[in-house]
């Protein structure tokens, strides 16, 4: 069986949606060119037509608003932002409009738009071409935020997002595109049924990640196994609304919590995960204080020298765990 890459899994999710749901259409910049979105949307315009795969003017704000508006009118649009940094032009349509459309009008209307936003960093791209702002969006009630980490989820979370009656931000990370796995047949799952998932069992420490940081956590924990450290690894998958139950159960067992996040430390997703666990475990449950590995609180540097210090990686995580814990 030929293994599928993460980026091909996204492509197969799009293909499934376009094939089975005539109300699905996609708009965004660079959709007719592999330059912007890698192989994740390759040839979709040729297969499904340029009416349904719309490469747009340089107008993030209008395009996102248009996707929101079309979603209110019975369509299932996906708006693609090839780089999350540029999506900030569209904040009004996301935060003020889509997230609140159901609530403000007493539930008579809803905006089931999917906003695909790509984290694209490294390679000396610098402060405005590197951001991972999932925590911002996870702060907003009314908008669901998902971050697929596995190849399987890259496809399946996309399908669940587009079929959700609520607005969803689907965040994929270019650093995951070369991951491979065998894909199971597609089974549609409602997004509200999806929660954080345990990817590796263990009983000494619970490590939580999302997106690329889950991959780091998983790889690091596998190496730690040979040192005799038994880590349990969770992938958040759905950041908002955040369901902490399975992680809480895990921490009650392991009594240690480490969160790895690809965002900044201050007011970040790691803070939210730690708080939601700490406020729910009995006093003296934790053997060690809860800890987090995040980006340092500075913009992404362009310098290659600084980049090495800026991003977490497997070795740093292993060292951090070896230095911080005595199992």
């Amino acid at each position: 069986m030929i293994k599928t890459t993460y980026s091909d899994a996204i492509l197969s999710g799009f293909d499934y949606l376009l094939k089975n749901y005539p109300e699905v259409f996609i708009l965004g910049q660079g959709l007719w060119s592999p330059w912007y979105v890698g192989n994740t949307m390759k040839n979709l315009d040729k297969k499904y037509g340029k009416d349904r795969i719309i490469d747009t003017p340089v107008s993030e704000s209008a395009c996102t608003g248009a996707a929101v508006g079309a979603s209110i009118c019975g369509m299932k649009p996906i708006v693609v932002h090839p780089r999350m940094d540029f999506m900030l032009y569209a904040m009004d349509s996301i935060v003020n409009q889509a997230a609140k459309w159901s609530y403000m009008f007493g539930g008579q209307l809803n905006a089931p738009v999917t906003i695909r936003s790509i984290i694209n960093r490294g390679g000396s791209q610098g402060a405005q071409h590197s951001q991972a702002l999932h925590s911002w969006f996870a702060h907003i009630p009314g908008i669901r935020v998902v971050m697929p980490s596995t190849v399987q989820d890259a496809r399946d979370l996309l399908i669940s997002s587009v079929l959700s009656p609520d607005p969803v931000i689907y965040i994929d990370d270019r650093w995951l595109y070369e991951q491979t796995a065998n894909l199971k047949p597609i089974k549609e799952t409602p997004l509200n049924a999806l929660t954080p998932k345990c990817l590796k069992k263990g009983d000494q420490i619970t490590i939580v990640g999302s997106g690329y940081s889950t991959l780091l956590a998983l790889n690091a924990s596998k190496k730690l196994n040979s040192d005799g450290v038994r880590a349990e690894v969770f992938d958040l998958r759905v950041l908002n609304p955040f369901n902490s139950k399975s992680i809480l159960d895990s921490v009650l067992k392991t009594k240690r919590l480490l969160v790895i996040d690809s965002g900044w430390k201050s007011c970040g997703m790691a803070s939210e995960v730690i708080t939601s666990i700490v406020e729910n475990v009995p006093t003296n449950t934790l053997i060690d204080p809860p800890r987090r590995i995040t980006l340092p609180d500075c913009p992404a540097p362009s310098s290659e020298v600084h980049e090495k210090d800026y991003y977490p990686n497997e070795e740093k995580i292993i060292k951090f765990i070896n230095d911080s814990y005595y199992f």
Partner: protein
């Protein structure tokens, strides 16, 4: 719904705001009724209409349920948005009024998407985007005009140019006092109309909408008008507006769209002063009945605070 009823409803709301029966802010469009009434005559329930912060006339233009408007403004659970929106968040899905919000220009790209949806659905339905002159100063307005034109989207931008954005006169905000130049810059067919002449608005919107249904294309109407009340609530605000004077207000009141229509019809001998009086009485009765009914309705249940944040539970 007629201009007279919309006028009377807003005056009722103004009084209630003054008497503190209404809690949230109300943006009244008294003096501007002709625009929504003229445009709405051409619309059907499957069209997609988006309003803004001053949208009582826009929703009443297509949904004559006065009770629901009053209930919503009063925050009652029988209102257009179940009491969850108030004056600034109105919607009537079954009539095609898909939402009004107070973020200036916030609904313009949404209406664009509604038009795009119509085009993809090949329904012949059109989108209406009501906006004011202030909204034309936001970047997304220009993005939306451009996108609408290059993608042939059936959307009618209806710009109610009442010369003021909140307190600021247009002459202090833009180099020219008309905005249809922006349509021309994007090769969008446009017409500048007297916003206080309901017949002219009807004729122009009718022509544009007929064309849009046959061949999806954007159009823009700029309707020059004036609001009798200040930016928000019941006061005239002649003292806080920059370049807003008592004299200007009185002159604009002489251009009252309702009196102009009534007098023109009387001149043409298709209407009489007596009939106008009878109509006024009926309108007042209609207002009072619906207002009293809304006053008696309930507020939303306290337990509903978290309802409808998501459609999935």
């Amino acid at each position: 719904m007629s201009m007279s009823v919309i006028r009377a409803a807003e005056i009722k709301i103004a009084e209630a705001k003054k008497n503190r029966l209404v809690k949230g802010p109300v943006h009244l469009g008294v003096g501007q009724e002709a625009i929504a009434v003229g445009v709405s005559k051409n619309l059907r329930n499957t069209d997609r209409i988006f309003g803004a912060h001053r949208s009582h006339s826009h929703i009443l233009g297509v949904d004559n349920d006065l009770h629901k408007l009053f209930a919503e403004v009063l925050g009652k659970n029988t209102g257009f948005s179940g009491g969850m929106g108030g004056s600034m968040h109105l919607a009537s899905k079954s009539k095609g009024f898909l939402g009004s919000v107070p973020i200036v220009t916030g609904t313009v790209p949404l209406a664009l998407g509604a038009g795009l949806a119509s085009k993809l659905q090949k329904s012949g339905d059109i989108a209406i985007s009501y906006l004011g002159d202030g909204a034309t100063e936001e970047g997304v307005f220009h993005e939306s005009l451009n996108f609408a034109k290059v993608s042939n989207i059936p959307i009618l931008f209806v710009v109610e140019n009442n010369l003021f954005s909140s307190h600021m006169h247009m002459s202090l905000r833009q180099p020219l006092n008309t905005i249809n130049r922006f349509a021309k810059a994007h090769e969008i067919e446009t017409k500048l109309v007297d916003g206080n002449d309901v017949a002219e608005i009807y004729r122009t919107s009718s022509e544009f909408i007929r064309k849009m249904r046959l061949q999806p294309e954007p159009y823009l109407i700029e309707a020059i008008t004036y609001r009798w009340f200040g930016h928000v609530d019941w006061r005239e605000d002649i003292d806080v507006g920059v370049a807003r004077s008592k004299k200007d207000l009185l002159n604009w009141k002489k251009r009252d769209p309702i009196k102009r229509l009534s007098n023109a019809m009387i001149d043409k001998k298709i209407w009489t002063i007596e009939k106008q009086h009878t109509l006024d009485l009926k309108v007042n009765e209609l207002i009072d009945v619906n207002w009293e009914k809304a006053l008696k309705d309930d507020f939303p249940d306290r337990k509903s605070l978290l309802d409808n944040v998501y459609k999935y539970d």
